[in-house]
Amino acid sequence: MKKVLESLEAIGALAVFSLDVVRDMLTRPFFGEELFRTMWLLVKRCLVPVGLAVAPVGAVISLQGLELFRMFGLDRMLSSLLGTAIFREYSPALASVMVAAQAGSSIAARIGTMRVRGQIDALAVMSVDPMRYVVVPGVIACAVVTPLLNVLTNFLGLFSGWVFAVPLGGVDHGAFMEHLTAQVTPADLWVGLGKCLLFGTSVGLMAGFLGMRVSGGAESVGKAANDTVVATIVMILVVDYIVSYVLLGVGV
């Protein structure tokens, strides 16, 4: 019973926190310099892990899909499976998971460390709102950077899929490109980008929320970083499924 109440309290606190963040985002003062610094840091930190995580997925889809499609002599159709799977599902989901793992946990750990050392209180004493100075840049940076990284990983995933299908798998290059351009629509791309925006925002919110809730010592900093990743991965997979199901129903 106590656990249920605690988790309900956490959900309520998260809702209030999100509303606070939205309000602080829209009203002055803004800390633009801090925002760009955070964004640049995120791009630098996430580029390599996100790229390395998504690129093999396209290759694996080609590798396994080719074997299955070949049973029906449909190996020319492979690119339509690859394109939709990468654009719609795996690139947005994996890029967001890696942003959560890399950026989310480090934002949570950073805010948590500031909290443990009393730097958050010091900011408040200097009448700099810690929400505006520390949390809001993190949320906006995650929301902007995740879709940007997704554009890159789309190409990486597609390219590695192409490498495993055309030069290594023996599919005809023209057929591969034709099915890709015929079956993959701009809607697939937009769905992926929309998902990334949603997931990125929630990574930033969760990191800020759990970081600000840290109390105690070093151990709780590690716990906040960890909880951020776990909570966002659950959220990403659940929302991903709901979005696919709704889109299938709507027929997009």
Binding site: P56, T84, Q102, V221, G222, V229, V234, D240, L248
Partner: protein
């Protein structure tokens, strides 16, 4: 680059400690419990949704050439060979690995590891070896469990949400998913578990006292990211070797 060589040196000592006799039973049991049973709830939720999504998402692609009935084969092979082992490894990295790294880093910065050394207890054998064994043993089991839950999710998605025939789905599974596929998936789980545990212990062990609370955060972060990236890349290499 320097970190990589440090990792190799650490791995050498850690593996030597891992195979230098039976680890402390009490710590092993406790670690197995936290790593294995502690991850089951999370893994259940995640694989159910991953399995559902595998059905729902690939449906439209197969529909284009009227191949909906082959969804069972696709969900079975794709899931058992690739998706569930990698999912289990990422969850393992995000939860178990991060916990290991945080715990070890915390011991390191509060000088508990040095205290063990002073008492002439080898921290590698006392701390690292049981944890390595626990995760290496737990992950293949979790992987097998994820297969069951994930396929159940795919079945529910295909039959109850997309309206495909249940019998066709099951017969597709029986016909195309071989025992060797299961073995490959679980074997991948074994390798990933060992790798994630090794990476997590390395990053936890590397935390220095002067870094303080920040060191714990850094160790956790690196354990998650390096573990996940290594597993995904290794998965491609293994699949390529086996099916390429």
């Amino acid at each position: 680059m320097k970190t990589f060589f440090e990792f190799l040196i650490f791995a050498r000592y850690a593996v030597a400690a891992q195979f230098s006799g039976f680890p402390d039973r009490r710590i092993l049991a406790q670690q197995l419990y936290t790593a294995g049973v502690g991850s089951m709830a999370l893994l259940t939720v995640l694989t159910i949704f991953a399995g559902l999504n595998l059905s729902v998402q690939s449906y439209s692609t197969f529909q284009r050439f009227g191949g909906q009935d082959f969804l069972g084969m696709f969900a079975g092979i794709g899931g058992v060979r690739e998706l569930y082992p990698v999912m289990a490894a990422i969850i393992c990295g995000a939860r178990i690995g991060a916990n290991l790294a945080a715990a070890l880093a915390n011991m390191k910065i509060s000088e508990q590891v040095e205290a063990l050394e002073v008492m002439s207890v080898d921290p590698m054998r006392h701390l690292v070896a049981p944890r390595l064994w626990a995760v290496t043993l737990a992950l293949p089991l979790l992987c097998g469990y994820a297969n069951v839950v994930g396929i159940a999710g795919s079945y529910y998605g295909a039959v109850h949400q997309l309206g495909l025939d249940g019998g066709t789905f099951v017969s597709q599974l029986e016909q195309f998913v071989h025992f060797s596929d299961l073995l490959v998936g679980v074997g991948k789980g074994l390798i990933f578990g060992w790798l994630v545990a090794l990476v997590a212990c390395f990053h936890g062990y590397r935390a220095a006292k002067k870094e303080g609370a920040e060191g714990v955060g850094i160790a956790t972060n690196r354990a998650i990211v390096h573990g996940a990236v290594l597993c995904i890349v290794l998965n491609l290499v293994l699949s390529w070797l086996m099916y390429g």
